[in-house]
């Protein structure tokens, strides 16, 4: 029986879809059988992020409403054995699926897959309730900004109320330079405020945009820092104990001088 993990955030645009795509590709690269579910009905996105948009025949609503079987709606990724996508419906709205149907769908999928990862829509309404209904674990994505952290805090409360205990945090778009000059909340600041387990920190990285433009995932880009961050998170999900990577710039006159005068 596989695990069902929902990737959520409250606020839009903080990196849920990017995270879902990269963790899916990361886990599949480790030989796991993975199904990514796009639960953002009406705003289908995960397909284009993964570069699979031209292969969609059926979608999640076709499955839950009985138009087709699950198997018919799943798209197999040709680049990586084991990775599958169940796309969102684009022409329906969030009420086209209800929490009971999602639960049933997740139960079916977990029989077949090692990991089912659900990309949650923004907000706390029906779409959120659908996305978490069948999940047994949750990942909360946030950026180090006031509004995103506030929404993350709200989501953590709602997850706990829904019996999804011990959600894990991913801090995305982290900018060490800004943290160093005191203009962005640090990892410690975020831990202090949200007080949930940290699953990983993904730096702000142009390569995320570059790979996404091409329908590829940065987790497969060996050279990028964000790719490394996603590979580390993947291994943590697999149960390995991987230390946080060093996000500080290694060189540079300023950081050298800062060290010299004992400011770390």
């Amino acid at each position: 029986m596989g695990e069902v993990i929902v990737v959520t955030s409250g606020k839009g645009g903080v990196g849920k879809t990017t995270t879902t795509a990269n963790l899916g590709m990361g886990l599949a690269s480790h030989g796991k059988k993975v199904c990514l579910v796009d639960a953002d009905i009406g705003l289908r996105n995960l397909d284009v992020v993964l570069g699979l948009e031209n292969r969609i025949v059926f979608d999640i609503v076709d499955v839950t409403s009985g138009v087709c079987r699950i198997r018919q709606a799943l798209i197999k990724d040709k680049r990586c054995e084991g990775l599958h996508l169940l796309p969102a419906a684009q022409t329906k709205d969030k009420t086209a699926v209800n929490p009971d149907q999602m639960k049933e769908l997740c139960e079916e999928l977990r029989k077949e897959f090692d990991y089912v990862i659900i990309d949650c829509p923004a907000g706390i309404e029906q779409g959120f309730k659908n996305a978490i209904a069948g999940a047994d674990k949750a990942i909360v994505v946030t950026t180090p900004e006031v509004s995103a952290v506030r929404d993350a805090d709200r989501i953590i409360g709602l997850l706990e109320a829904a019996e999804l205990r011990e959600p894990k945090l991913i801090i995305n778009r982290y900018r060490p330079k800004m943290v160093n000059r005191g203009d962005m909340m640090s990892i410690d600041d975020m831990n202090e405020i949200l007080a949930i387990d940290l699953l990983g920190v993904v730096p702000e990285d142009e390569q995320v945009v570059v790979t996404t433009n091409k329908g590829e995932t940065v987790v497969r880009d060996e050279k990028s820092q964000s790719g490394q961050a996603y590979r580390n998170i993947t291994r943590r999900i697999l149960g390995e104990n991987v230390p946080l990577m060093n996000l500080e710039e290694q060189s540079g006159l300023f950081s050298a001088l800062r060290k010299m005068i004992g400011l770390k």
Binding site: V146, R150, D153, G157, R181, G182, D183, M185, I193
Partner: protein
Amino acid sequence: MLEFLSRVFGRESTGSKNVAKERLRLVLVHDRANVSPDLLSSLKNDLIKVISNYMEIDEQALEVSLDSNDQQVALVANIPVKRMKRAKSLA
């Protein structure tokens, strides 16, 4: 001198992140209290229990709320006292 260097090399405590953290701290006090409306009412019940050991209070008129200004959030309780108990009855 070190202070000057600190400022030049950006380790000063006036960075905008401190403002962000402080604003978050205040806003989350309210958010968390509002999200669970039971919180204040169960606090109210506990307060009644404890205070009743010492004095007789007007439970109906008891008010508990969170007040805030720019600096801090305060728990404000208005508890009308009807009668004090005698010290010896505390034992």
